[in-house]
């Protein structure tokens, strides 16, 4: 039996900031019309994950009690020790015997969660699984990550019946390559030189993983109509696809980072959702995530049912917006606090 996507959902915060406004605060000239999301002061990875999950479950048309497992990936769990999947389960209303799993530590944790869910489905252990990727990334003020780090969530309900898309195969490529890190002593993520990160990190690992996938399932670049990539920086994607043979028009639909920034583990799931909003039956999708030297790739084939259950979630959420200024952004992210 084949496993795949039964339903999908996203959550994109309401408030946005124009990256040009951030640059202006630092007196850096910046012309690009890109924006990123700003989480409201009462949001965190859990609240965003819940909304995306409820959206996905509603789209899938299954009762929460039918979900047999939750696979939750985030690098920004509200606690250092206290699992997020159990709080999610309480908010969604899954059964007590549903399996709960937290994934963490890199932006690819949402695709690790996805792989684990596929394994559980394919082994016959579960019938329905919920995969969620949510993050609330805060960049170092004034640095490149300040311009891109944002928040959001994406969720998929995976199953074996009533699929809107089949997951045909997956592959990974990994080395120990540290281009983003954070620790108890370092509250906001550190990053390396962007070109080092792109040329020795993102591009080679994504390229190798995609090539590995294509060999495994016997498909080539022309077999894919769309491609969804993790977008730590939109420039990285454009650089990587050259070596894979995927043309820019295939990634265009999933390039949401110019509107929402980089919401960490949610980035690739939201890019996928933007494509699922438009893809027709048979229009194969390549999905590739990246996090610190590891890339996971998947081949996803939309089926007839996708057109019956058509929705337009990504555009809907992107269009609902309100701009805030840099001071509000700093205050809500607790980068600007009263001195006690």
């Amino acid at each position: 039996m084949v496993s795949g996507i039964v339903g999908y959902g996203v959550y994109i915060p309401w408030c946005r900031i124009k990256v040009a406004d951030i640059a202006k605060a630092w007196e850096v000239p910046f012309e690009f019309p890109i924006e990123k999301t700003v989480p409201f002061y009462d949001e965190d990875s859990i609240t965003m994950a819940v909304e995306a999950s409820l959206n996905a479950i509603r789209h899938a048309g299954v009762e929460p009690t039918k979900i047999d497992a939750i696979f939750f990936g985030t690098t920004t769990n509200p606690y250092l020790e206290k699992q997020g999947s159990s709080t999610l389960a309480s908010m969604i209303g899954t059964r007590n015997d549903a399996m709960l799993a937290d994934f963490a530590n890199s932006a690819r944790c949402s695709t690790v969660a996805l792989s684990a869910c596929l394994d559980a489905l394919n082994s016959g252990r579960i019938n329905y699984g919920l995969v969620v990727g949510a993050d609330m990334l805060i960049g170092r003020p004034g640095e490149a990550t300040d311009y891109l780090s944002s928040s959001g969530a994406g969720a998929l309900v995976l199953g074996k019946e009533e699929l809107i898309a089949e997951i045909e195969g997956s592959s990974s490529y990994a080395t120990d390559f540290t281009d983003t890190w954070r620790s108890e002593d370092i509250r906001l993520p550190m990053t390396t030189h962007p070109r080092f990160s792109r040329d020795y990190g993102y591009t080679p690992h994504v390229t190798s993983a995609v090539k590995g996938l294509m060999e495994k399932i016997g498909k080539g670049p022309d077999d894919f109509k769309f491609a969804a990539f993790s977008q730590p920086d939109p420039g990285y994607v454009m650089h990587a696809i050259r070596g894979i043979g995927i043309s820019p028009d295939k990634v265009a639909q999933g390039m949401v980072s110019q509107f929402i920034g980089n919401p960490g583990s949610a980035s690739v799931l939201i890019a996928l959702a933007a494509i699922l909003d438009k893809a027709k039956s048979g229009e194969r999708i390549l999905m590739a995530s990246y996090g610190e030297g590891v890339s996971d790739t998947f081949s996803i084939l939309p089926l007839g049912k996708i057109e019956e259950k058509r929705q337009n979630v990504v555009e809907d959420y992107i269009e609902r917006k309100k701009y805030v200024d840099y001071a509000t952004y700093l205050r809500w992210n607790r980068l600007l606090e009263r001195v006690r």
Binding site: P13, W14, C15, F40, Y41, D42, E43, D44, I46, T47, V50, E51, P78, Y79, T87, S90, M91, I92, G93, D316, E319, R320, K322, T328, R338
Partner: protein, 133 residues
Amino acid sequence: MSTAMPDFWRWAPSVHRLVGVKCKRCDKVTWPTVEMCPYCGSTEFEKVQLSRKGKIITYSIPHMMPRGDVTPTAFAIVETEDGARLAGYATDCDPYEIKCDMPVEIVIRRIGISGVLDEGLIVYGPKFRPIRK
């Protein structure tokens, strides 16, 4: 917020996923779950899942809060589609957008962080958001 983990745990089904009770005698839905119907005094209930949509009954917009560290936001009484009442804050909106009888949806957000007894616990609960598009 001077209460301990067991209290938060007891309330979780109601505040995390809007479980309420429907009175078998008078059919009214009460939230959070209670032992005695506040409308008719009956003790016979069935658990129900509240609708996540409702409308604003009334609201006020506090500008002066005890420690002044929250942006002004609207506090409202909301009635869900199934007739249950909730009270809480509005979110994802400019507070002056809120009006009586306006349709809203119920979302789960951070309400605060516990202090005093069991410190540092993040508490989640329902808030109201205007329906856009």
